[in-house]
């Protein structure tokens, strides 16, 4: 019994330890290096270092920070405005291919940033298929970056919205309507309170991704509309001005932490248990439903799918060529690496994420500690990836080219998805279900395995799908030292794009298509009944 009481506390240890070793210590090491440079390093840069407050006195850096905040804010607002109505339509209707729409939506996550940027530019860039007929000149404007941000992040909001709307209580909604509430009023009074927390979580993530994003900002933002993270990258990787970089990094981490704290406090106030009677989905009948679904699909196609079509069309234009690229020995090696690294990262991310989610749940009652535990879920997204990568190099030079650190880097970016999904799902569990099982004589472990775990399983699988997508797409891993024998599909794509020639460009598109196909297979396996608040499956608790 005592063990059972202590166990949940110990659950926080693995994620905490992981974050301390892989994030906090390297980040502090880099900041320390910035404050106390080794003699010799400072002399190479030729400029006096900035102070933390000096960042705001420098017009260029001030603009970078403010613009980073602004573009993240604009992108988040846009994904919300587009994502919520789309999510509502998808959550309330069922039609053929709905599951595939939800899966396709996640593909932007796995496509290498540069390939995605090629897709966005093919539509919106100079000579773009859409920009030119519309007479738009978006090059060197901030809008290309915002469009790219929406393309990458819309799926986070839509998926969160669809899942949350699926949990809304049908009887409450029916009661509201019977009492004369308009659909609009019923939405604000019944549905909105039930979905705002998961939505806030997704929006928080979108903001952090856009704020700390670098790859997309480098290609689409150009030199004028680049973000603070690009500036940190330039200062650290190319100019060795660690003091300036750490001064800037303090601010980006500060803003990110503020946001994570805000979300955590929201999460603790807004959590409400879910109801067993879910709103059933309707078939698409009548002109209103038809046009709503058509509009939702159009929005998704235009923002999240269209930029990928360029790549798919390019790859399929030459099927024998496609086969040749797919069966080349270097492709098979890269495919094997992608599979095994993703599998390792997924296992580690699931274990750490489960621990994190359960710890958040365990600490939900504690006032201060609970807030911190909740906020700690976002730590990997709050820190500057560049600062962490170079901090790791400084702190563990003998480990930097090791497999362990490589997988740790993948895991770091993947496990918060599992943690967040599990935590949200646990917070929504009505406590009396577990209590009922306990009354009937089940041990705490048995309750966990037989009641809690099966009930959070769908959320766990969703989190794992996002984690797998992150691992397959490996966002910032290219910052680390790499070995040729560890070439993954993404690194192979970048290798091809590092050389001239039409065959290299073609290979990049062909490999991107392979990556997308692989991701779809993984999504199908992980997330078999995606987003189905299936009306035919009786509410689970009634069996108990």
């Amino acid at each position: 019994m005592r063990l059972a009481a202590r166990l949940p506390r110990a659950l926080l240890l693995p994620p905490l330890l992981f974050v301390a070793v892989v994030v906090a210590a390297p980040m502090l090491r880099l900041l320390w290096e910035g404050a106390h440079p080794e003699p010799g390093t400072a002399a190479l840069t030729g400029q006096p270092p900035l102070t933390v407050w000096g960042v705001w006195a420098d017009a260029h850096l001030r603009f970078r920070l403010l613009w980073s905040l602004a573009q993240a804010g604009i992108s988040t607002a846009l994904t919300f405005a587009l994502g919520l109505p789309v999510a509502w339509v998808l959550a309330r209707h069922h039609f053929a291919g709905r599951q595939w729409v939800l899966r396709l939506l996640m593909l932007p996550f796995v496509v290498p940033t540069l390939v995605a940027a090629l897709g966005v530019l093919a539509l919106w860039g100079p000579n773009g298929h859409w920009a030119e007929p519309l007479g738009l000149e978006l090059e060197d404007t901030p809008w290309l970056l915002v469009i790219g941000n929406v393309f990458f992040n819309l799926c986070l909001v839509v998926r969160a919205g669809v899942d949350a709307l699926g949990q809304v209580s049908a009887s409450r909604l029916a009661a509201a309507r019977t009492l004369g509430a308009t659909p609009w009023r019923a939405f604000w009074r019944v549905e909105w309170p039930a979905i705002r927390l998961p939505l806030a979580g997704a929006l928080c993530l979108v903001f952090l991704y856009c704020f700390a994003g670098m790859g997309l900002a480098l290609v689409l933002g150009g030199q004028r509309w680049a973000t603070a993270e690009v500036e940190i990258y330039t200062l650290v990787a190319h100019e060795l001005r660690l003091a300036d970089a750490s001064a800037l990094a303090w601010w980006t981490v500060g803003f990110g932490t503020l946001l994570a704290g805000l979300y955590a406090s929201l999460a603790r106030r807004l959590a409400q248990p879910r109801r067993a009677d879910r709103v059933p989905t309707r078939p698409v009948r009548g002109w209103r439903a038809r046009s709503a679904v058509a509009a939702a699909l159009t929005v998704l196609l235009a923002t999240s799918v269209a930029p990928l079509v360029a790549t798919v069309a390019w790859a399929l234009a030459d099927v024998p060529g496609l086969w040749a690229v797919w069966t080349a020995p270097e492709t098979l090696d890269a495919l094997w690496n992608t599979l095994r690294f993703s599998a390792m990262a997924l296992l580690a991310a699931t274990a750490l994420g489960l621990c994190q989610g359960l710890a958040v749940f365990h600490w939900r009652g504690a006032a201060q500690a609970g807030l911190w535990v909740q906020a700690s879920t976002f730590v990997p997204f709050v820190v500057s990836p560049v600062a962490v990568a170079f901090g790791l190099l400084l702190l563990y030079p003998e480990w930097t080219a090791s497999l362990g650190l490589l997988v740790a880097a993948y895991t770091l970016l993947a496990y918060p998805f599992v943690g967040q999904h599990v935590a949200q799902s646990l917070a929504a569990l009505p406590p009396h279900w577990a209590q009922a099982a306990r009354t009937l004589g089940a041990s705490p472990w048995r309750v966990f395995v037989r009641v809690t775990l099966p009930l959070v399983a769908p959320a766990l699988r969703r989190g794992m799908a996002f984690a797998a997508a992150t691992a397959l797409g490996e966002f910032a891993v290219s910052l680390f030292l790499s070995r040729p024998e560890w070439t993954t599909l993404t690194t192979l794509i970048y290798q091809h794009l590092g050389r001239p020639g039409a065959a290299n460009l073609y290979a990049a598109h062909a490999l991107s298509l392979l990556l997308m196909a692989l991701a779809l297979v993984v999504f199908v396996l992980l997330d078999a009944n995606v987003g189905s608040a299936a009306p035919h499956a009786p509410p689970k608790a009634r069996h108990a």
Binding site: L114, G125, A343, L346
Partner: protein, 356 residues
């Protein structure tokens, strides 16, 4: 007691999930490396991310030197050198390849290289680098043009850098940011050496007014902005060897390159890449053998179509495809000392003039 939530029949979805979980665990375990080659010493080689040599040559070296090669890629050459400098107290490699004449001064000033006195250190070479760097290959950074674009538009090719500031050439050029790209820095250095520092920055200011586009690195410039690949700018900073690579990596057999280099006064930089021992590195003997290996005829022959550079060892036959890439006859390089002392100031002045 009935199970609270397990479905009554094991659905195919559950089965596939179990299969998936089994696969995942299997992959994760099978993916763990075998810790068996502990008895063979490891030679750690740090390179930039473009390093690429045929596998047979590398395994041949491993056999003859009795070591296992641990090649570690550190990003773009500038980024790679900075990683070497940051870890100098506890070096991540024993030998480093890819430091070029633009970075040599910085590497020497930081004291991250160790002296080397093997045969190649004093052997004659087609291009030179300050000791202890041993030159391995050389090539030229220069402007490339999209032939089809110029044929279609009927616009005459520019004949000097000054032409690029004329209204006729507005919005036609894309360059890389010298702060984040080796070819970008090389091109900036060439303009300074060719025009003189003040005239060069005047030229850059005019170029800004004439709509020069600045990309982060070579890949972004070549694949998103160059008109050959769907961008709208027909002039890009690239390498003199790029037209030959265009032929080599073409989708259909080409008799003529679709691009050409455009060698203008002040627009050509000779890049010389070298290899050196890392100070504090281990395996000095094997590292020396690696240096000799890079200068050996088979590697010097192969690197022409993998690294797209020219051999440093005199007398090595040129690859056939290189006939599409004539070597520029003249170039403008600042001295190594000048580059070491002034690069940071040049880059920040360039940022001020072109970007801010």
């Amino acid at each position: 007691m009935s199970h609270p939530s397990v479905p009554r029949s094991v659905s195919s979805a559950t089965l596939s999930r179990r299969a998936f979980a089994a696969c995942a665990v299997g992959l994760a375990c099978g993916g763990l490396p075998a810790w068996s080659h502990a008895e063979v010493p490891l030679l750690r080689v740090l390179t930039h991310s473009s390093f690429d040599l045929p596998k047979e040559l590398l395994t041949g070296f491993e056999k003859s030197a009795g070591v296992k090669l641990g090649i570690v890629k550190g990003g773009d050459a500038g980024e790679m050198l900075n990683k070497l400098i940051l870890t100098r107290a506890n070096p991540v490699a024993d030998v480093v390849y890819g430091i070029d004449n633009a970075l040599a001064g910085k590497a020497l000033a930081a004291g991250v290289l160790a002296p080397y006195s093997g045969p190649s250190a004093t052997a004659p070479s087609a291009a030179i680098l300050p000791a202890p760097l041993v030159p391995v290959d050389h090539g030229c950074v220069t402007l490339n043009i999209d032939k089809a674009w110029f044929a279609k538009s009927g616009l005459a090719l520019p004949t000097s850098l000054q032409d690029l500031t004329l209204p006729a050439y507005k919005n036609l050029l894309v360059v890389q940011n010298p702060a984040t790209s080796s070819p970008g820095l090389s091109f900036l250095a060439a303009t300074i050496a060719g025009l003189g520092e003040e005239a060069a920055f005047d030229w850059w200011a005019k170029l800004r007014a004439n709509g020069v586009k600045v990309a982060k690195g070579w890949t972004e410039a070549y694949y998103t902005d160059f008109s050959k690949n769907g961008g709208k700018r027909p002039i890009v900073v690239s390498y003199a060897s790029s037209p030959a690579a265009e032929v080599f990596y073409s989708k259909t057999k080409l008799t003529e390159a679709p691009t050409a280099s455009l060698n203008l006064k002040g627009g050509v930089f000779q890049q010389v890449e070298g290899v050196a021992l890392v100070k504090g590195g281990k395996q000095a003997e094997a590292a020396g053998q690696f240096i000799e290996f890079l200068r050996s005829a088979p590697v010097q022959q192969a690197l022409q179509t993998t690294l797209w550079m020219l051999p440093a060892t005199p007398g090595v036959a040129a690859a056939d495809v290189m006939r599409h890439a004539p070597t520029p006859t003249a170039f403008d390089n600042p001295s190594t000392e000048q580059m070491a002392a002034q690069t940071p100031a040049w880059v920040s002045r360039w940022t001020q003039v072109v970007l801010k």
